[in-house]
Symmetry: C2
Subunit: 171 residues, 2 copies
């Protein structure tokens, strides 16, 4: 019984301690180009927001700690170092019931990230692109060229390291 | 010399350790109704976003840890407990140079908060309202009735505890 307790208690303790860290992100499939959905993404800090009239969506742009440090450095030339991740949470536009002039997040569309690694992702501007659709975060595409499709669009932002996002001015 | 070292070293150490915690928020004047600007507000997690066509602004709505816990509880009835703070960072709308269909944050307008305390702020729906204007976060008003002005507008959201913000659906 004593031996049982010695084995059982640490096991239960470990299990209890472990449960909170088993987020659903562990069940989220990596993108086709083998990028993992970043754990705890929805807890990241804000870089900016945007609303797009061409696809009726709005989004918040978050960053991991490396990206936040870069975005908030107030340097003349913004530099995204290796490991920086920019994440967009995107919603369909909806009208706020209590304030008709306000457009607010409706259905969740997708989460998408850009992961900085100049060597690993040299063919796509030094960024790994990945997207997960819907609240259950299914990898957006099984097409192995999905990242190239992202990159093609991001050519428009070539002058800013293929990043559309300009960090919002913060107090 | 030894005594000098004993006094000097801890002093220097304390000073070095202290510097990062002296954020500019310590120089920010409290609102006219004596609400302090919350330290570290720009590091808070996201509750939602919105864009307003009636005043050409967009904003991100953040929450302190109490508010985030409430917003993400997925309960049938959203309850904002005592101490919950909702914060809005508001920018003028601007067009993104690299994607004309995207409206993004331009000039920073103000930071504003709603602080939950049903007893303390009973006359304004159980919320303390405060706003700081511009990147230097000057208290928005010296009018002691400023919170009543906020509250008058928030009557439109009476059915949701005077809160316009509906937490965005998160994955």
């Amino acid at each position: 019984m004593k031996i049982y307790s010695k084995i059982f208690c640490p096991t239960v303790l470990c299990a209890l301690l472990y449960i909170p860290s088993v987020s659903h992100s562990q069940n989220i499939q990596a993108s086709v180009n083998n990028i993992d959905y970043p754990k705890g993404l929805t807890n990241w800090r804000v870089i900016s927001t945007s609303i797009r009239s061409d696809n009726n969506t709005q989004r918040v742009i978050l960053g991991n700690s490396i990206a936040i440090k870069a975005a908030r450095a107030n340097s003349d030339k913004l530099h995204w170092p290796k490991g920086a991740i920019l994440a967009k949470l995107v919603w369909k536009n909806d009208t706020l019931a209590t304030w008709k002039a306000a457009t607010v997040p409706g259905d969740f569309v997708h989460a998408e990230i850009m992961l900085r690694d100049a060597r690993k992702y040299a063919t796509t501007g030094g960024w790994g692109f990945a997207r997960w659709s819907g609240l259950d975060l299914k990898p957006h595409s099984q097409d192995s060229n999905a990242a190239e499709t992202c990159f093609a669009c991001h050519q428009a932002a070539k002058g800013t390291d293929y990043v559309f996002t300009v960090p919002a001015k913060l107090p």
